[in-house]
Point group: C2
Chain length 133, copies 2
């Protein structure tokens, strides 16, 4: 994709005061909402160019390739932008699971007269991250 086409998107986005935009991530196969992350312009550009989801980690203050440690990357199928240009929706093929806790989706807790775990566990956090944590 040409730089001009990428700029068409990045210029329409209303980046917040920190240069970030929230990004909703949805599973292409199950339609589950997997997570919410943040992108800066560089993360979005890398995502478009590589077709692998890149985010900006607010806690670590750096660009982050989703799955760089776990291998659980996200292959980008579609990118949408909302009416106000202040939110991105990424539809992805999720490898193994999206959540660092081992659940497929980060939204594994339902509030139903108290919090209940309803998500499905797809890997053991301690096994996947044991080398570095």
């Amino acid at each position: 994709m040409s730089e001009d086409k990428i700029n068409e998107l990045t210029e329409i986005i209303k980046w917040d005061e920190k240069g970030l935009v929230p990004c909703v991530v949805q599973d292409s196969k199950t339609n589950e909402v997997l997570m919410l992350a943040y992108m800066n312009k560089e993360a979005l550009t890398k995502t478009i160019v590589t077709k692998k989801a890149h985010y900006y980690s607010r806690s670590r203050q750096k660009i982050w390739l989703k799955g760089e440690e776990s291998g659980h990357n996200q292959i980008v199928k579609n990118i949408y932008i909302d009416c106000d240009g202040d939110t991105i929706l990424l539809v992805v093929d999720q490898n193994v699971g999206a959540c660092h806790t081992g659940y497929y989706s980060c939204f594994y807790r339902l509030f139903d007269n108290g919090l209940k775990i309803v998500g499905r566990k797809v890997f053991e956090e301690s096994e996947v991250y044991k080398k570095t944590k």
Copy 2:
């Protein structure tokens, strides 16, 4: 629902420096992601108690009942919280359409070698909002 149960949720949420939390809204029937909005504690409490989605408008700086002007309200079916407690997922029955532009979802523009409108229009903005705009 008891106040204790509601507090169980509001106390686990990591409200940002403005007292807000982003809220992804998903359609209960089609699984489409409809919008992203923000809630403060009062908006979340009203949402739980009334089962109608309430948000906090950052531009108008006030609580906002979704559909208060258009009638296009959202009946809440499920509330999820993510692993970090910093995002809410609301699954709703959407009345008519979620977006103020007349599209069913706010994410009606696909980025595919340029921006393309792919969403479905469900009402005419000028008709719905003509009384007040």
